[in-house]
Amino acid sequence: MNSIITSAVLGVIMMFSGIFLKKNSSIVLLAILAMVALLAMAILEMSGFHFFPVETHDMLYFDVFGMFFNCIAFAATLAFFLLSGRDIAAIGHNPGEYFALIFFVLCGISIASSFNSLLMLFIGIEIFSIPLYILTGSDKRNLKSNEASLKYFLMGAFSTGIMLLGIAFLYGASATGSFFLEDLGIGKNAGSPMMMTGLILLMVSMAFKVSAAPFHFWTPDVYDGAPTVVTSFMATIVKAGAFIAFIRLFKDAFGDLKHNWQIFIAILTFFTLFIGNITAVFQQSVKRMLAYSSIAQVGFMLFSILGLNVMAQEGILLYIAVYSLATIGLFAILTRMKDFSFQAFNGLARQYPVAAFSATIFLLSLAGIPLTGGFMAKYYMIASVMETGNFFWLVVFALLCAAVSVYYYFKVIQAMYFKEGPSQELELSPAFNVLLISLALLIILLGVFPELLIDRLHIIYI
C-alpha cells in the first residue's frame, strides 16, 4: 500500500509544482527527490514497514514478488529521471504535469503488481494506460506524435473493451460469481468453454498491453511517433508493469489450468520472437529498431509464463531489471541525438568514447552476450521452461532468434566503432557520462553475480 498511496500523492504534488516552481531544472530536481522518496517507501514496504494500514477486503495482495518488482521499477524510473529528466521537462510547456502523469503511471503499476481481484487489475491497467495516451501525444505540434497518441488511444480502448468482455465471461463462469483470483480457475466450470473464452479474451488484451505479436501492430508507430523520452519509459517500465500483471493473473488465477492455455502462450511466444526479430533487421531508424527489439524481448519474457516456477519468477525480475536499464540508457543517448538513423552513429566512438562504450555494453546486454546481465536473464528464462520439460522446440527457436538479434544490435556497434562520420554536437555532460557508465557497470555486475538481485526475492520468504 505504501507505493500506491505515495505515488498517487507525489503525482498530486508534482501537478501543483508548476505553480510554485518556474524553472524547469527545479521541477526536475523535485521529481528526482520525489522518486527517491517513492523508492525508499517501496524498499521499506519490502522490509516490513507498512505506513498505511488499510483494510483492502482482499482486493490487493502484497507478496514479495510484487513488492520487489515495485522496487526494481522505481529504481529504473529513478535512473530514467536522472538521465533524461531534463528532456522530459523539455517536451512541452507543462513540465510539472508530465512528471505528475509519470507518477500516476507508477501508481497504476504498483496496483498491477499487487491486485488480487479482476476489478483491481482493470483499474490498475487503466491508470497506467490513460496517462500514457496523453504522454504519447504531449509533443502537440508534432503531427506524428498526435497520430501516435490517437492510434494508441483507439487501439487501447478496444483492448480495454476486450478485457472487460473477458472479465464478464470469467465472472459468469466462476463457481460463486466472484472477481477474486483464487475463485476464478476452480469449480465445476474449470476449463469449460465459457471460462476458456474469458481467459483467451483476457490473454488477448494483456498481450496487447505488453505488445506481443500478433497484437503488436500499434507498437512501432506509437514508439516511433511518441517523444523519445516517453518511448523510453513506455518500452521499459510500463511494459514491465503490464507483464507483471500478466504473469500474476495467469499464475495465481489459472495456474492449475495451465495445460489448457499454455499452447496459446507458446504460439504467442513463437510469433513474437519471429516477427520482432525478423522485422527489426530491416529497420533504417534506430528508434524503430529499438521498438521492434522491445517486441522481440517480450518474446523472451513470455517464457516466464510458460515456466511458471520459482526460476521463472527469479528470471523475469532479473530480465526486467537488466532490459529496463539497458534500454533506458540507450534511449537516453538517442534522445540527445537529432537524427535517429544508423548513419548518425557513425564515428561516435572517436568523439564520445564514454557514451559509445556504455551504449556498446547496453547493446551487448540486449543481444544476450555472456558476462552481461542480458545473458543471465535469457539463461534464466530458457532454463525455467527447460525445467518443465515441455516446449523444447520453442527453446531452440528462441536461441535461433537470439542469434538473429545479434545482427541488428551489432549494426549500431559497428557504426560507432568502425565507420567514419562527421563530427556532431551532443550535449553530454560529465554527470551524464558518469551515470551511463555506472548503468553499464551495473549491467555487467548483474551478469556476473545475478544472485545479488535474485536472492532478495527469497530473504523475506524464510
Binding site: 483491481m120 491508470i127 490513460i130
Partner: protein
C-alpha cells in the same frame, strides 16, 4: 407468458434490432439515434433486474450526456455520408470472417451457461436501491472506489495538458 417475460423478449428484440440498425445506418446522426434506443432498452433491462439506480444513471449519463455530446460533435464536424471513405472489399471480407469466428466462439461459450439455477429475481426491488449500492460501494468495494479517483485525476490532468492553448 407473464408480463415480465413478455417485456424481456420485447426489449431484447428491440435492443438487438436497434444495435444492428446503428451499425448499418449510413448517416452518423441516425446511428447515434439508434444507439440511444439501445441504451433505453438496456436501461429497462436493468429495471427488470432490480437495478433501478443503475438504470437511471445509465439513462442520464449515456443517453443523456454522452450521446448528446456525440450528436453535437457529428453535427459540428459535418460528417455526412458522402465524405465516408471507400472501404476495401478484402477488408470487408476479412472483417466478416473475423467477426463471424468471434461470434461462433461467444455462442459456443454461452451455449451451456447455467440459466436454470441463477434465474433473475424479479419483483423484489430491494437490491438495486441506492442505499444498498452505497453500502456495497463503501464497504467491500471501497478500495477500487477510492483508487479510481487516481484514474479520474490523471484523466483530468491529461485533458488539461492536451487541451490547453500554448
Amino acid at each position: 407468458m407473464s408480463a415480465t417475460q413478455f417485456l424481456f423478449w420485447f426489449l431484447s428484440i428491440l435492443a438487438l434490432f436497434s444495435a444492428i440498425m446503428m451499425v448499418v445506418s449510413k448517416s452518423p446522426v441516425h446511428s447515434v439515434l439508434w444507439l440511444i434506443v439501445v441504451f433505453f432498452a438496456i436501461s429497462v433491462h436493468y429495471v427488470l433486474l432490480n437495478a433501478q439506480f443503475l438504470a437511471i444513471v445509465n439513462l442520464i449519463v449515456y443517453a443523456g450526456a454522452i450521446m448528446v455530446l456525440f450528436l453535437f460533435v457529428i453535427m459540428l464536424m459535418n460528417l455526412n455520408a458522402e465524405t465516408e471513405p471507400l472501404k476495401n472489399k478484402w477488408l470487408k471480407i476479412t472483417g466478416v470472417i473475423g467477426g463471424g469466428a468471434l461470434m461462433l466462439v461467444l455462442v459456443a461459450a454461452l451455449k451451456d451457461a447455467d440459466i436454470r439455477n441463477r434465474i433473475a429475481e424479479t419483483n423484489k426491488g430491494e437490491i438495486g436501491l441506492i442505499h444498498n449500492l452505497g453500502m456495497a460501494l463503501f464497504k467491500e468495494y471501497v478500495i477500487p472506489f477510492e483508487i479510481s479517483s487516481v484514474l479520474f485525476l490523471s484523466a483530468m490532468v491529461g485533458t488539461v495538458v492536451i487541451g490547453k492553448k500554448e
